[in-house]
């Protein structure tokens, strides 16, 4: 939308209203992370700024376009709107974006089939002239998250939008993530030059290897090559597309001596948030004795030459395919990433290789599930007894055991991937709270584009609501698997109990699965993260405000501070402080008035203290008396002995 008045500041104040579903709250925070990774837009909890976005659970999913300068501006994330891309879509509206097919030049790219539109809904296919809407010199984007799907507002079964390039008919309407052009447009609209959390990406295609340097304090080097006879035959960047085109870095362990080292250091990196995730692909064609160490070299005022810290080690038998690895870092100062290859003592025919490195200040996924030979699975008839693939079991940080299942051919709709999350019986079940409360399991089908900023991964989250009751059984869905689950067994024969599944039969269509880089090297990666989101139960900030038509002034910035026991909150030097209630013979103390005191307590404390002092004094007196008595008894005995000895001598 054209007009500077519609722009938001780069950091947008927001409120998550308590009406929102818990899963939606968690996903909104994840959508914010995508904005932080890919754009210069950031979000912060509202602290009384004039204009802010309030996200609530209304009827449906909707937003206004641009900053309406109205103080509290609403975005509704209602039932079934708790999808990452839907939330990104609504926030893009709020940031000033119309739908893609309403561009002034859209008729060059799509044909609107007027006779297939529901009566009374024709206005949804309006377009804006270039005085109202600007496409910022970005080409028409069939892959935009802001595009209608081909079935939008259709009155029958025939599509309402036809793409003038037929190959894009099933591409329009994607709800995975921002497209490259979405990011480009947003960056141009808001003059973005960098993002908060992106740090580095490198696929080693250029000869400068992204500014990485070979260390001089080693006796071997990493090589930038396209192929190794013992594997990999392809680099990962162009895997399945082109052979001998893309480059990767390789440490050869087939020659040299045990202990030989090759050290590769990244350029200097400057953290902003203090936590990072390093992601890279790794191919081992060497021996199980070879080792890849990941270190960080941190530069501080105390250590200007850098201090090395080991953050991860990868070792194991060669498997013959590209594996995906994540290493969590927590670096606060200027640093370099260091890849140290060490040759082992066992014989090797190859070495190990790294490719498609991404470093961002985001949290790493907790678990990686690699499904290989995926094309075969996709083309084959339903698999096994249930037609499902089950992930290995994994534990949440709180100790709950989970499993994710993927139905490659869908359950009843054959062109969808289905995805379900189940609790399974685990080692900690006796010590956990049941039903399982507010664990958000996020399942990401990874778009394996080499650059993390251009990935359009497919994300769905499931949150365990402890009050959710299954209609069929009347039992809590997220109750202990031993109670509500069914028998199952792992491939090794170990028996366990699997709780009911919760998820979607429409995780991703096969058409969309085949575009992008979801399948690469004939495998897909499913990234799983489990977080306790119970801290999001209450997120609303009840700021007391006085509102004029175009201005909002904050008079109380401390309601969210949470004074307890009827404590009154006041602002001192911009910070909330609690003034606690006091009665005739009682009072509350503590930062938030959380501790109660009474007059009786004081009397009890005084009496107890007096008695304690009396007892201690009594003990000291008795001990002293005993000591003196003992001392004098010894003296008297000594005198008596002397008299006796003298008497004997005479």
């Amino acid at each position: 939308i054209i007009g500077d008045e519609y722009r938001w500041p780069h950091t947008i104040p927001y409120v998550l209203e308590d009406s929102l579903e818990m899963n939606a709250k968690g996903l909104i925070l994840k959508a914010f992370e995508q904005y932080r990774l890919k754009t210069c837009i950031d979000f912060k909890p509202w602290e009384g700024e004039r204009n802010y976005i309030s996200v609530f659970k209304g009827s449906g999913c909707w937003s206004s376009v641009g900053n309406r300068q109205q103080g509290r501006q609403e975005i509704s994330i209602g039932q079934s709107c708790d999808r990452l891309a839907t939330i990104e879509h609504e926030f893009l509206h709020a940031l000033g974006f119309w739908h893609e097919q309403s561009r002034s030049d859209r008729d060059d790219y799509v044909t609107i089939m007027r006779d297939r539109i529901q009566a009374g809904r024709e206005h949804n296919f309006n377009k804006y002239d270039d005085k109202t809407s600007d496409f910022l010199n970005v080409p028409y984007d069939y892959t935009s998250v802001m595009h209608y799907s081909k079935t939008a507002f259709m009155n029958g079964t025939e599509p309402t939008i036809l793409t003038n390039i037929p190959a894009f008919i099933d591409v329009i309407g994607q709800r995975m993530d921002f497209s490259e052009y979405d990011i480009q447009k947003l960056s141009r609209l808001y003059n973005c030059t960098s993002s908060l959390s992106f740090m580095e990406t490198c696929s080693f295609e250029l000869e400068n290897v992204c500014g990485m340097v070979q260390s001089t304090e080693d006796n071997d080097d990493w090589q930038r090559i396209t192929q190794v006879s013992s594997g990999p035959q392809d680099d990962h960047t162009y895997a399945g597309i082109c052979q001998e085109t893309g480059y990767f870095l390789h440490f050869n362990t087939s020659t040299g001596n045990p202990g030989d080292r090759a050290v590769l250091e990244s350029r200097f990196l400057y953290p902003k948030r203090g936590f990072q995730c390093l992601q890279f692909y790794y191919f081992n064609s060497g021996s199980e004795g070879d080792q890849l160490n990941i270190l960080v070299k941190e530069y501080t005022e105390e250590n200007p030459n850098g201090t090395l810290r080991l953050v991860g080690t990868i070792q194991g038998s060669p498997v013959g395919y590209w594996e995906l690895h994540h290493v969590s870092l927590n670096v606060m100062s200027k640093f370099r990433i260091v890849f140290e290859g060490v040759k082992g003592s066992t014989a090797s025919n190859g070495g190990f290789s790294i490719d498609d490195i991404n470093l961002s200040e985001t949290a790493c996924p907790h678990h990686v599930w690699h499904i290989r030979n995926f094309t075969h699975l996709l083309n084959s008839s339903p698999l096994g007894l249930e037609g499902k693939l089950y992930s290995p079991p994994f534990y949440s940080p709180e100790g709950y055991a989970f499993e994710v299942s993927i139905y490659v051919n869908g359950s009843t709709t054959p062109f969808n991937l289905a995805m379900y999350v189940s609790l399974i019986s685990g080692a900690n079940d006796d010590f956990l709270q049941w039903p399982c409360a507010w664990q958000q399991v996020t399942v990401v089908l990874l778009d394996q584009h080499p650059d993390i900023r251009q990935r359009m991964s497919n994300v769905r989250s499931v949150t365990t609501d402890p009050t959710y009751v299954q209609e069929s059984s009347g039992e809590y869905l997220w109750d202990r698997p031993n109670k509500v689950g069914t028998n199952a067994s792992f491939p090794n024969g170990t028996q366990f109990m699997r709780g009911p599944g919760y998820g979607t039969s429409a995780f991703l269509t096969h058409e969309r699965l085949k575009i992008r880089d979801f399948i690469k090297d004939d495998g897909v990666f499913i990234l799983i993260t489990t977080e306790d989101i119970s801290h999001l139960i209450s997120t609303e900030q009840n700021f007391t405000t006085t509102q004029t038509p175009h201005q909002m002034t904050t008079t109380d910035v401390c309601a969210a501070y949470g004074c307890q026991n009827d404590g009154i909150c006041i602002v001192v030097d911009g910070k909330p402080v609690c003034r606690c209630p006091v009665g005739v013979d009682w009072w509350y103390t503590g930062d938030k008035c959380e501790t109660k005191g009474t007059k009786e307590n004081t009397v009890i404390i005084a009496v107890a203290s007096s008695l304690s002092i009396f007892a201690v004094m009594l003990i000291i007196t008795v001990v002293t008396a005993c000591c003196i008595k003992k001392k004098y008894r010894k003296k008297i005995n000594a005198i008596n002995n002397l008299k006796f000895q003298n008497a004997s001598a005479f």
Partner: protein, 43 residues
């Protein structure tokens, strides 16, 4: 033991619902399906 089929809850009821379908099913007639215009605001 034979493998039993556990009960599953499908959030999407086997239909891939887009934003516009969700709003349509709720009877909302928003501008372009999901845009709230300024003059629609509740005073």
């Amino acid at each position: 033991l034979p493998v039993q089929t556990p009960f599953e809850t499908d959030e999407d009821n086997e239909i891939e619902q887009d934003i516009f379908d969700i709003n349509e099913a709720l009877g909302l007639n928003l501008f372009e399906g999901d845009i709230k215009l300024e003059n629609e605001r509740n005073s």
